[in-house]
Symmetry: C2
Subunit: 319 residues, 2 copies
């Protein structure tokens, strides 16, 4: 394939001039510009992007590390990320980590080796130190509501959202409250756990291990929880549930088995996914699309800062 030097020769100019034409530099006479364009046309020339990457030292690529993609939480975030990346003329490279530290490391290495100009970590498996260690190689933003001093985080305030959900249930008269947690977001899960415990303490109720359901990510998990719920000797009267997906599975299965929502058990989902509206689920809306867009904004600046996005209660008929 023809390269820039071939074009220069063909057009009778220097490579510098060809480069100027390619980059719309003003100091090129119309005459030479035309000659260069003609030569490019004749030779079927196009730029080798890797040479550009190498010489410019940037790729206009943003890496995104995500555990898996077919989950509405992440795919909604990704949608926001992709929309904003389009606006800012970035492309995205995708690292599916499956929560493997080693895969996450690959994403970090890609930053170090300049494969990507910046990195977004949607959910973390490795420790803060590991992330911190790579900050010198480029901007990293983590989608987590932590106030880590050295690493920029952009997310919804999961802690406050969960606390708000708890208070909402309490205000509705519930004292026996359980909750579901996904394995997916270590930190976020911890925050929710914290909020849960604190509010329990506030109403002076004990923490009951059998009212905490782990590994809740999908509709099926919700169904599973419904069954576990029914086999409990003593049942909570309210549940905060990881996500609307899980809440939907719970509601469908529970109602199939004759448990009434919200009469027998009140449930509160998170996200405000379309399925929540469809199933008349009260939920806490998380602006994930916006968070996604913000992540890209932050990571494209030299010095990303943290940001917390607000949530909003959407009252429907499940509480």
């Amino acid at each position: 394939m023809a390269n820039i030097r071939d074009v220069a020769k063909q057009a009778g100019v220097s490579v510098t001039t060809v480069s100027r034409v390619l980059n719309d530099h003003p100091y090129v006479t119309e005459e030479k510009r035309l000659a260069v364009e003609k030569a490019m046309e004749e030779l079927g020339y196009y730029q080798n992007i890797n040479a550009i990457h190498l010489s410019k030292g940037e790729t206009r690529l943003i890496g995104v590390a995500v555990p898996f993609i077919n989950h509405s939480y992440f795919s909604t975030l990704l949608n926001g990320i992709a929309d904003q990346a389009l606006v800012r003329d970035y492309n995205l490279v995708f690292y599916q980590t499956n929560y493997q530290e080693q895969e996450e490391r690959k994403a970090l290495e890609a930053l170090k080796r300049k494969q990507v100009d910046g990195l977004l970590i949607l959910s973390r498996a490795s420790g803060w130190e590991a992330v911190d260690e790579y900050q010198e190689f480029g901007p990293i933003v983590v989608c987590e509501s932590s106030n880590h001093t050295r690493i920029p985080c952009v997310s919804v305030d999961h802690y406050e959202a969960f606390r708000f959900g708890m208070r909402y249930m309490i205000q509705k008269g519930h004292r026996h409250i359980g909750y579901c947690i996904g394995r997916m977001n270590g930190t976020n899960s911890n925050l929710r756990e914290m909020a849960y415990c604190e509010e329990l303490e506030f109403i002076e109720e004990p923490y009951r291990k059998d009212w905490v359901f782990n590994n809740c990510l999908t509709i099926e998990d919700g169904k599973r929880v419904a069954n576990e719920y029914m086999s409990l000797e003593e049942r909570p009267s309210a549940l905060l549930i990881t996500s609307d997906q899980v809440a939907a599975g719970f509601r469908m299965e529970a109602e199939k088995q004759g448990i009434r929502v919200p009469a027998d058990v009140a449930i509160l989902g998170f996200d405000n996914h379309p399925i929540a509206e469809a199933l008349d689920l009260t939920t806490i809306e998380l602006p994930l699309h916006e968070v996604g867009m913000s992540l890209v904004e932050k990571v494209s600046s030299k010095n990303p800062t943290s940001a917390i996005y607000p949530f909003e209660l959407v009252e429907r008929g499940s509480v």
Copy 2:
């Protein structure tokens, strides 16, 4: 940052030897290998990946053009793609096209300019000619069940699946059959339309425009269709519906309004998404995860071939 020449100097060897160490070439004595490794350590050396890309002429990156990501059809495909990419040590670059021909073109240009070694097009906005034109620059695989002679396609046989669905309804005694179509997959939609028309002809029923619902992609769309359905003077007794998501929305809304599924209207979804099980939807299962994996397999070979994946009826309680 230190480069390979610095390392060579520090270790007292040639750059070639350093390169050999980096690439595990056998012709390096243990002694020099250690010297090189020591030098790399001391200088904090790591390879610049863009230089590798440039000199090797490949990037181990596969481009994926997809209209949008937060839709289970695409995110399931992507999940399969990502899983297989991991196995084959490829990374993915993501082109969110929103069905804009111009964005799709960017993905094709990325192939031409060697940003990616191969390209996967999950749904096409531009014509075959446009795609064909870029084949000389690298392997392209389209996720479409077309038997285009010049462009490899890997997908489910949407035509046969839809025909099968029609026959299933017919065999169940239905004569008045409508269907929903998403805007998303031009070709696939056309295939479904074809299958629909042919089967209607077969049972000698007329094509009724008001029994065809367009733009059906999400749960909300399903709800909308349910409302449109109810406002029909004459209603079909069966519907084939774009996807389980849409079918779910339809079922929930219809039942809320007092229409019984399947007594009043039988519905058949596609995909066998978890939501189908949750809502007891009869559906045609499409092996999207496998298709995704296959797409990567195909695109990583020099000469990709086409493949069609089988579907499977999952009988539940909506027909």
